[in-house]
Subunit: 336 residues, 6 copies
């Protein structure tokens, strides 16, 4: 099978054990993650060839980040080394009504200061079937935005499917350009995007116009009218019961039909970070394995639900576990 | 702002990790706590000037206890050092129907054997606005009872608000005097007390007399009739679903009105020890920040609920987290 | 009181901390357990004299397994040492819809390769009142099957109560004989068995025949007709809500009456392995303490429910905790 | 083989991990130890039947202490339960020129408050060949002193060898009697004692008188003249290079000859607590296995040296490791 | 006693447990340290009033850094909050011939971006007797250099002793000015400096001129000729045997005499980071306690040697431990 | 650069933390290692393309072993999955005179039961320059011996350098053939072997004959006379001071000259397992980087010495650390 390629920043994640606060901690658990690499890592864990492209500092933290993703089976041979530092984020895990909290320390990373041309996309995308990026990358720096633009363009030229989680984070976008300046041109090169109503308004000034019963469908129809390459728009819906329990479903629009999945209840959350990335990985898995749209969305939801029971950013749930959820069995019965 | 001062014993707390039993443990987590110091520590964490007065042995455990509270920002400069030992307690954490368990090893502590006159209350209470004590202190030893009596008297003379959690623990009171001998004189000096119907009966022989619909109100009216300085009587109500889930509300009587808060559900308990102290801290915070009685009680309930998600005796939840709960949002949505 | 004796394999159990997967782990928690020894260990924890008979390799792992059960108070003086290795099993703990998972590595253990005559059962069972075995032992090897047969025969001759959890595991039974060849002769020597409808069909070809409203009762009547020594057949019923929550009840048939217990809800599962063994231990405790059949079953259910809140295979819940559950109190209220 | 019996207090030991100080620790390692029980535990580890007699509180800490020694194979069935608390001690581990430090918190333990008659020594010492005690026990309380006196008397009557480490600790002896009041009568019942020159002076007012070249021999001759039952006096000599390296040798006097062992270098100390108890255990092992005096002393030294490489109070080094040291091989070559 | 004040950056320190490398770690130990704050922290640990001035981000990491130093007793009330991030450094601990390694991630910290005027030095230095800074601060940024200049000037005006460890680190000094541009003016305001021959050459172009036998003395005489306020120049000398063993001595020049201390051997290193800061703290302690120059230097050496046995940047050795080393006792004999 | 390929069993390694014994452990550290894979892993860590060939069970432990070596950068794509189990070994770490101890539990592994033809060596060795195996593999099972024979034959045909550590372990060789039956034919295909005098005698009946001053040279000359393909024979010499300190040197014979390296002292051992494999990796590194024989041996010794300071089987020391040792600097001076 041809490989999946993703591009984006990977950060070190430092979090106190258990439900501790940073002020209480004398050690922090160290993992690594990024909204794009988490997708390829989950795919690699399921046996799909997958490579991630990023830039790390040439020091112990950069090398450890490479090793972390290599461990899961991601091809890290296209990573460049240089620059200042590895971006970091600190996480405290909440419970019940106390929210989990993320504190970013990602400024001035090696990734942010990359040269826009330092990756050879033709070589990287050789033998690839799919390229995935997110709206976080163009938000980090102008050079990162230019690099992702080149990657999309190359993928389009090579006939490779392009997907994006458009994911608008207003705390980023500090380098002088606005999301509305940059993103539309990038979305133009996409075949599939994850996009919610808030994102559509913030990025594209598109709001549901009442033309369809579903606001999401209305949004999709307007976006697709503007971006003719787009074939599918998808999104998840999270029901937030507490920091310890959520529900999850997904919906998608393929230009004609609005498709909704059932809702899966997540009764005990272990670690919800990377849940959206796990959905995307599941959805891509469905696509490359030839599932139809609804099954791909359902696969994404099941995978994402399971991610909430896995420690770290990467979904390490196994295919048989996803299939059990897809079969409707949420009982978690012991497997010997 | 003028400082809050508390007085009482601080013990070392030793507990197995996770849900382990002591017989299974080869290490015990070490924290420190006390029903009075937990209140000032929570206030200090929120930026309120706060000092705690106690006595520690002049050894590694006493110094570690000082350091622990100093870390949170409590002024520990009035602590005396000397005597035999630091009181300890051992805790096992339960789950579902298995109760958490506390085993005390607090006898003959440096605090219990203090000299009744070894604290200079005039100096300590200079620049203070509030003095807090609990019914545990006079239960420990005659000299502790005398010391708290002196502290209350000094606070009264200096025009400082005095609050107490009357908290009757029948396992204590081993030194020859009964709770009914000692406590009434101490309550006389109080402006505000935490007192439930059980406490009122055990300590004051007061039982609801049917004169009001609410037994609590009836109890309060009788207590206030007896102790004219008392302005407010407050209490919490815990709904015990399991060792892993509780509900919490509070009520108060200000001499005229019975005030009740809504009930907050705590769907996943991390550590419930110190929940009552967190309530008291929240209530004091409301008072010193000028909130009205209901908002102060609500602040206490929100803070106490959040304490159940925090490891250790001290409520380290942040003000924005309390405010989120006060706004009615218990969803624990991830904060980036 | 005369002692309880069990016979069976004990394995080392290796599991990642928390909800981690083995691929994520750089350390594995080490405990030891076995379906039979877990029963005697729970009884020893409650003060009942109890001995376990097994075979360990004469190396660090075998000696550690002995020490582990000796710590709980089990008499391990009848253990033989020799042979190749200690059987192991690896466990990952699930949450919500993700199942816990067990991977066995138990082949070619010292226990499997025992000599059928290497235990002197007359000496071992001197001063015993009860002998307990399970269907796992005869499934391991021919020599293990022969050894348990000798043990049962000796117990029968010495007038000792014999109980078995017939527990058919189809992954075992690899040594050339089938469960239907071996088990009936062993069940013949039993006074009490734990047996569900699936087990009855797999082992004895017995299925409910509609003669009674309850399929279980029908099954029991047929089994008892075939095995005249059998006085009681019991079983538990697990309601599988998720990997984090279960319900539990039990039923029994004494030749005349079908007895059912109430259902206990387990709202937060810490470790469900050994839950069935904890039930058996509770049921035996009820029997040897003179409780009637219903109270013995209820004791077993309460003990088993509590086991789900205890780390490791062995039920270390205390008698007062069992009694609290028996009283209907599942609130897990803090005990000071 | 007939059993070895020891009598004395067991304390919980709490120490920070690694070289940490208590003020830095958020967890403390929990082990248990006592100068007498450490001796029987080492003997049990080597397969010698051994029982320890003591008193524990009837709570989680007392039960955990029992379990800890039961794990090593010590018969704990003669332990009594009751009273206030388990004595504790806190340890910080030093390195290089920084000393390790012990802080005791042992006052008012269940052991200290035992009734002098609560142990039935005739029953306990049935089937015993050796009784061991130390000078710590009579230093704790008058009732403990009386209990050990009864034990010695009973052992003498039953023809059981009595040994003692006379071990004068001036911080103890707080209950109103002096070491010189109490110890001589107890030493009268001993066959073998561990005693250094400092002890002899403090306890017996005996100082070397120059009659022999060796001060130790002179001391021994005077002691033996006063206590005719005494057959052997032994002692160790520690060379203190640093907290990380020591040397060790032993000497003994049997009434006629002064015997000295070679000196063993301990180049890396892991945990030196219990080193003296490990020597005593090794010496007793030599005696009960029929070694001559020099070999018994050498066995003690080798065992004690190895103890310094073992975590916790109890010497868990194996017999083959002791024999390797006895053969003069200190190279620590990897064993596969 | 009047307080000691220090000024400088504090970083979070993240290091794998034991001798692990970062690539092997799934958790990192978290402590905090800085070359100036380590000095005041050691002094606070010994009971000297001490305050540290710095700037932290207003987030969990900044608050945790405050709490960390508050725990040791440092007055952190002059810390400002704001800006981007807390500087970090990563450490791997070596052994034998493998060096320990430090990787800095300190760029763009809140401290580096402070406003040069944001500290009110007159208020901060009220009631102070001593102000300490190091050459790291002016190397970080121009505003930091300006701030330290203001602090020195204020201290000079208030008659407060000023000390500095001139400590040239060529990896810093990235903001456009050179060490030779900036430092001389700052040294002008100092009474005491720590300065080695390499520093003198790099910062001041001063090299020993052969006028005295000791190159250090020659260097000192030239420096003092140039900076008339300077009263003492001191330095340590480290003998590097391996990552696990060092030796340490110190020397000083007071304008007239060259003073040298004996050499202390550190036979087992636990954590050598902060060793120089511990020397400075010890030397200041000697000064403020009225010791003469030699005793102050010896106190510094003993304290520094002990620091190598303490985990973390801060010297938590106790005064009695320092005095033991000063007495020449390096045996590390167990203290009960 | 063309890749290095190794073939051999990888086992899970389970060891108590610190200096603990298995009987004391409630968790075991989990790493993975094998005498051949450790070599390729060290090479991959230094940036040399490297692949390892082995067989793992298709379960969590097999997958974790793959991930572990993938993390270091070893190409694990030629691993086959199937069979029973992953071989394991248990390690206790000694100190001073207490030896470290290894207990094997490797029988009946998936590797041992491989089919002799299941690896396609032509495909695997495409683009390889070097093939490495050890004498452990043919000792495990007949099919493993046949597989290694095929690999060597293919490598010879493809002109790839073949190296072997002949490493005779008499505890293995249980499957009916002797080392002398099997090994000579395999050595015939080798260009380079690691072989000591004991190995030569056990495997080849070759003993030094006095023809040269050096017994090693005499041995080498005889071996080379018998195996004409052999170009170099090398070996290490370990000086065993204690479990905590060793010395290390190497020697080699190239058919003409005997070459010896200097001796490196390892003053503090962290983990000596894999030291020999680290030497081999260093020696191969020297060869493929074009160093001469002496420098290759020196590189091997330096790498091996550093391995003793690294946790786990794999040498994760960096090239700059090796070069520091090669320069003669063993001081372990802190690197910032």
């Amino acid at each position: 099978m041809k490989k999946i390629v993703s591009f984006g920043e990977i950060m070190g994640r430092l979090s106190p054990p258990g439900y501790g606060r940073i002020v209480q901690a004398d050690s922090l658990n160290l993992t690594f993650g990024g909204g794009e690499a988490n997708v390829t890592a989950a795919l690699a864990h399921w046996g799909i060839p997958a490579a991630h492209v990023t830039k790390f500092p040439d020091n112990e933290m950069g090398r450890a980040a490479t090793a972390y993703f290599r461990k899961v089976g991601v091809d890290m041979s296209f990573v460049n080394y240089g620059g200042n530092r590895l971006g970091l984020y600190f996480t405290e895990f909440g419970a019940a009504m106390r929210p989990s909290k993320v504190v970013y320390d990602r400024a001035d990373s090696s990734f942010a200061h990359m040269h826009p041309n330092e990756f050879n996309w033709v070589e990287i995308l050789e033998d690839a079937q799919w390229f995935h990026w997110t709206g976080i990358t163009p938000a980090i720096s102008d050079s990162a935005a230019q690099a992702v633009k080149k990657a999309i363009k190359t993928a389009n030229e090579m006939g490779i499917t392009v997907s994006a989680d458009v994911n608008y984070r207003k705390n980023l976008w500090q380098y002088g350009k606005s999301v509305q300046d940059v993103m539309p041109e990038l979305i133009e090169g996409c075949d599939i995007i994850v996009c919610g109503k808030g994102d559509a308004e913030d990025i594209l000034n598109i709001v549901p116009d009442g033309s369809t019963k579903s606001g999401f469908e209305s949004m999709c129809r307007q976006i697709m009218a503007r971006f003719p390459r787009l074939k599918k728009i998808i999104n998840t819906k999270r029901g937030q019961i507490s920091a310890s329990a959520n529900t999850l479903s997904a919906m998608g629009f393929d230009g004609e039909n609005l498709i909704k999945t059932e809702t899966v209840e997540i009764s005990q959350i272990v670690d919800r970070i990377g849940g959206g990335d796990a959905f995307m990985a599941g959805y891509i898995y469905g696509n490359v394995m030839g599932m139809d749209e609804k099954d791909s969305l359902r696969f994404g939801v099941a995978a994402s639900a399971l991610k909430h029971t896995i420690e770290g950013d990467i979904n390490l749930s196994n295919l048989d576990e996803v299939e059990l959820v897809l079969s409707g069995d949420l009982t978690g019965r012991l497997k010997r």
